[in-house]
Symmetry: C2
Subunit: 162 residues, 2 copies
Amino acid sequence: MPEPPWLDDREARAWRAMIGVMQQLTAALERQLVQDAGLSGADYTLLVPLSEAPGGVLRARDLGRMVGWERSRISHQITRMQKRGLVAREECSEDARGSMVQLTDAGRAAIVEAAPAHVAAVRRYFLDVLTDAELDLIGPALERVLDRLPDNGDDRARGERP
Amino acid sequence: MPEPPWLDDREARAWRAMIGVMQQLTAALERQLVQDAGLSGADYTLLVPLSEAPGGVLRARDLGRMVGWERSRISHQITRMQKRGLVAREECSEDARGSMVQLTDAGRAAIVEAAPAHVAAVRRYFLDVLTDAELDLIGPALERVLDRLPDNGDDRARGERP
DNA sequence: CGCCAAATGTTGACGCGTCAACCAACGCTG
DNA sequence: CAGCGTTGGTTGACGCGTCAACATTTGGCG
């Protein structure tokens, strides 16, 4: 089969830029969060859905589904956040296996204070740099890339059926 | 000052897609490398410039500059790769502080075997999904984003001068 | 020359993420 | 209802990355 061997200049340029942005932008936003609010990106990711949930409580399973994280990752992160007083673990009344994650007052305060500066950083570093035309093209293009990515959507089994 | 408060639909869509791609694409390529070649992304990043260097040797400092990594990160990664026999450390004749990183035969074999499948994955997951027009627009756009990012280029001090 | 700041590396601690092992509860089916 | 596969969650090991502390060397400047 005729395979494409290497990247030409145009491809290499786009790919290089993509690599760079994936690394640098993530790092820049992480730094901004840590410095301005004392939160890690992982903290922020979980605090957002928790703060929007009624009562600030979510079942770990649902929280995981919402952010696309696997069980173990949620569990580890909740453990760390629990130690810092951002959330608390409670037991689940309907399902004895379950574990409920409860946003604490400190947790809510943290996310409320962190959000505006974070959104501003997203604008400053990304949205404001692009023209309207670019934004309109990039959004759908990246969605297409995302859709074709090998899901690995958490547990999801591969192909084989026994 | 008039600050932009939140993201509108178009902005949110593009940002969501960007977030998703940054996480998923990185993860997909990492998985591909590990499964097909037993190399991590970090391994690959260092093996490429090493394999292109004359003699397969580079000073740690220069290697770090080439890939944009700080000293400690290089050192830790080299330590791990050394344990697996991909590289070896040697002392630097011109500068007693320095440390030379030498690609081993096993290291060269690993990168030679890994590269084609990795490039193919980059095509499959990213380049092939985009039209020529999109590629031409996205490349320069992302380069602009990259240029405006707060460099943090290794040690580089911020503003203050005593 | 003698001193001191800057450069180069290494190390240890800690946060984050994945993987695999494990445990407990659930719920279906015979 | 007894058994058993599935689901939900936790834990420990290990790789990766950052930060801060440290040691050594270099290089310039009095």
